[in-house]
């Protein structure tokens, strides 16, 4: 088995939760070091035995500056001016922002480092609620009417509405509004909507149903989870995470008690969606159940705590989950770029650049 280097943090609103996921993973893998991506955007190697609070105010004591170099992997300066290069699979535990949207995936691809979780394409698609919803719809999976929302957009459904950041991994920045005037006003006021927003009908009676999916060693689904809301309109970021332990201790019904025909349908859609998403690693797919109708809501390609706590049926221990992801990273490499076909023929036969411009 290849060595593993857990990566967590990142300049994302979900930085803190990612630290918890990362430390859980590093502890489970008995790793001695981990790669921490600071809120400020720097990479450092830290001791994996640290606690969450050590990251509360900044970079923990003893952190060593690390570099990711194109073609050169991940390295730190060792003693006597020597560089230590990590020949490890990166276990990506970043949530939201550049850790989950394809940015770090592209960086690692260029650096020549194998990593767990989504590839550039999977991450970018999974982070784009508009594109992923449309891709699922085209595969015949029921989704809520969801349209791009800009100033003046009049969707062809009635309120109340839910306005979400188009790109964003959690419930941060989500607004529930009764009318379009308020929704347009939120576009200007809510910084999370600045890069793009989607609007969909809000269904207050619907319940959340989540399932974790992995593709390696074979396509497999976890038990279905029903998060229980502590109150308020939506299952808020605070409810999910500000208990201190991250997602693993949030209130839930597991496995969810739902009629078997619905469970079967949900599982079918989840399998389908995993294909659409180009699933790699462990993802969590979130559904909404409104009465008897199921809708696929979104996919989290790097879910909180990597959703290890959902694997109660079938039972997959966290260590096994991580080991399989690391094996998958080696067995199913991400982008292999190739210049095959660009054999120079065009270059040799062509006339001068000046003549092409003439």
């Amino acid at each position: 088995m290849a060595e593993a280097l857990v990566l967590f943090g990142g300049p994302s609103p979900e930085h803190d939760v990612s630290v918890l996921t990362g430390l859980q993973a590093a502890r489970t893998l008995s790793a001695s070091e981990a790669l921490y991506w600071t809120r400020a955007g720097d990479f450092v190697i830290v001791d994996a035995s640290l606690e969450g609070k050590d990251f509360a105010d900044g970079v923990p004591r003893g952190a060593k500056p690390a570099r990711i170099t194109v073609g050169g992997g991940i390295s730190v300066k060792g003693g006597m001016g020597r560089e230590k290069t990590y020949d490890s699979v990166v276990v990506n535990c970043c949530h939201g922002g550049p850790g989950e949207n394809g940015t770090i995936q592209a960086t690692l691809d260029l650096a020549g480092v194998a990593y767990t979780g989504p590839s550039v394409d999977g991450a970018a698609l999974g982070m784009d609620k508009l594109a992923f919803g449309a891709a699922c719809a085209s595969a015949g999976i029921p989704v809520l009417s969801r349209v791009a929302f800009t100033d003046g957009t009049k969707p062809d459904f009635d309120g109340p509405y839910i306005v979400k950041p188009r790109f964003g991994g959690s419930s941060i920045g989500i607004d529930i509004v009764t009318d379009l005037d308020t929704a347009w006003a939120r576009l200007k006021a809510n910084p999370h909507l600045a890069r793009g927003a989607v609007i969909e009908p809000y269904r207050p009676e619907s319940i959340d149903l989540n399932v974790a999916v992995r593709a390696y060693p074979s396509l497999e689904l976890s038990a279905i989870e029903k998060p229980t809301r502590a109150g308020g309109d939506i299952y808020s970021y605070k409810e999910k995470y500000v208990g201190g332990e991250g997602m693993a201790t949030a209130p839930r019904e597991l496995p969810a008690q739902i009629p078997s025909h619905l469970e079967e349908k949900l599982r079918g859609y989840a399998r389908e969606a995993a294909q659409v998403a180009g699933l790699r690693g462990v993802a969590r797919i979130d559904f909404l159940l409104d009465g008897d109708t199921l809708f696929l809501n979104e996919i989290n390609t790097i879910p909180g705590s990597l959703s290890w706590f959902l694997w109660v049926d079938p039972v997959v221990p966290f260590k096994q989950l991580l080991d399989d992801m690391i094996a998958e990273a080696a067995a199913r490499p991400t982008a292999k770029y190739s210049a095959a076909g660009a054999d120079g023929a065009v270059l040799r036969s062509g006339a001068s650049i000046a003549s092409k411009l003439a």
């Binding site: 809120r39 900044g58 006021a189 910084p191």
Partner: protein
């Protein structure tokens, strides 16, 4: 004779360690160690080497300081050995250890400034690249609470980052920028602390606020400043670069400063108040929480204020200056967080209500905590205050503590006096009242008594917690 001298030197090492710890806790300010040593010799109580409130941490800075202390100490021994017998020289050097540590602190100051320079340069560059709007907050108290509330109010409208906890000096602020400021930050809220003139001006050179807030000027750290007027001058440095200035006009000195700034007419001035509805922004606390006014017009109400009304008013004013709609600011106030250990409420296993205000050390905050104590627990329950009193109030320390104790007697049925630092003052304030007085040597002893004695319906307020150096 050599043996005795060596034994004395061993004692000197142990002694030096505890004074180094004092130096660390007192923010490495030269002079602080001798001042403390003087207090001790007068009160006659030693400081334990391993303390409860702070441990000696071997940071790089401490290692440099320890090295310099040893260097100076050896110099002292050699110098006196030339004049007196070795044993006498050793004894003198032992007595002079606190002064030696202060001397080392003095020597270390330029070394520290140099060591910090690359970090400050990095932070400067980062701020110039990210270009956030910088909000500077200073004041004798209320800085952290104001910062926490402000960050929360702005969060719904802009991406905001606040300097953590009390990272409010040159090293702390540089660290906050270098390690926590994300590239996409619109607003950076920086808390700026000072122990003397020139410090905030130096911070503003590389971290220049566009919006500046002074929350209050009060008798805090008077031992370091000298007077409240010097405090005002030092804090006012934060206004230099700002185009918008927010001042708590309920503070007499700040009200005067506001008049001066208004007369100059160069900056946008926002006067905030917790008493005058017509202020630019006013937050008036009442029985149902608080009301928020802008230019005399009611903007909205909030069921509970997260911190003192003047702090909330400062935060709302700054949020307005940063473009947060008034209605949004008021709506967000409802679930604003409370800074930790600054008046938090919890219920103990016994069912008693526990009010934790242990990080507060100012008279205004103490009064507010007493008001909350009076409203906590059930009407028939006991109300208990556990406090060592307030410190660093200079010449007014005795008077302020006596007054606080008298106020407490109006609310509490039992007052637990912790330690000896302010015991006399507190007892004087309690004399002639019907309050039951208990004396505890340490806060732990007081807490043990609270756990054993209080039950459901009772309420206890822990007001302030002194560093170990005070007993």
């Amino acid at each position: 004779m050599i043996g005795v001298a060596v034994a004395i030197q061993v004692i000197a090492v142990v002694d030096a360690l505890r004074w180094l710890r004092v130096a660390q806790r007192e923010h490495y300010i030269a002079g602080s160690v001798t001042r403390f040593a003087w207090r001790w010799w007068r009160v006659g109580i030693g400081l334990p080497l391993r303390g409860r409130t702070s441990k000696l941490v071997w940071t790089r800075r401490m290692r440099v300081l320890a090295f310099l202390t040893v260097f100076l100490h050896v110099g002292v021994v050699i110098a006196f050995a030339a004049l007196t017998p070795l044993i006498v020289a050793s004894l003198i050097s032992l007595l002079l250890v606190p002064a030696t540590v202060d001397g080392a602190l003095l020597l270390a100051t330029p070394i520290e400034a140099r060591a910090l320079r690359p970090f400050v340069e990095q932070a400067t560059k980062k701020l110039q690249t990210i270009k956030p709007t910088i909000v500077g907050i200073t004041g004798s108290y209320g800085k952290t609470s104001t910062k926490v509330v402000l960050a929360h109010l702005v969060e719904g409208t802009k991406t905001v980052s606040a300097s953590p906890a009390s990272f409010n000096n040159r090293a702390g602020l540089a660290r906050a920028v270098n390690e926590t400021l994300s590239p996409g930050t619109d607003v950076f809220v920086a808390e700026m602390g000072t122990y003397g003139p020139g410090e905030i001006a130096a911070l503003c050179e590389w971290c220049p606020p566009t919006v500046s807030i002074i929350t209050a000027i009060g008798p805090v750290h008077l031992e370091r400043f000298g007077s409240e007027d010097v405090t005002l001058v030092a804090k006012s440095e934060i206004l230099e670069t700002a185009s918008t200035v927010i001042l708590n006009e309920d503070d007499e000195r700040l009200a005067k400063l506001a008049d001066t700034i208004a007369a100059a007419g160069k900056k946008r001035l926002m006067r905030v108040s917790a008493t005058r509805v017509d202020a630019d922004v006013a937050v008036i606390a009442d029985d149902d929480g608080g009301r928020v006014y802008e230019n005399g017009k009611l903007v909205g109400r909030v069921a509970t204020l997260p911190t003192a009304a003047t702090n909330v008013a400062c935060a709302v004013a700054a949020a307005r200056a940063l473009g947060v709609p008034a209605k949004d600011a008021v709506a967000r106030l409802a679930n604003a967080p409370v800074a930790s250990h600054r008046l938090e409420t919890a219920t103990a296993a016994s069912g008693a209500v526990v009010l934790d205000d242990t990080f507060n050390s100012n008279p205004a905050g103490a009064r507010r905590a007493l008001a909350l104590l009076s409203a906590s627990g059930s009407p028939g329950g006991r109300k208990v205050l556990i406090t060592p009193g307030m410190i660093e109030l200079g010449r007014r320390q005795f008077e302020e503590n006596a007054k606080f104790a008298t106020d407490a007697a109006q609310v509490a049925s039992i007052v637990g006096v912790v330690g000896r630092t302010n015991r006399k003052a507190l007892l004087k304030g309690l004399a002639g009242t019907s309050v039951e007085v208990k004396k505890f040597r340490t806060r732990d002893k007081a807490a043990a008594w609270v756990r054993a004695s209080l039950t459901a319906g009772d309420a206890v307020l822990y007001e302030n917690d002194l560093p170990d150096a005070y007993k």
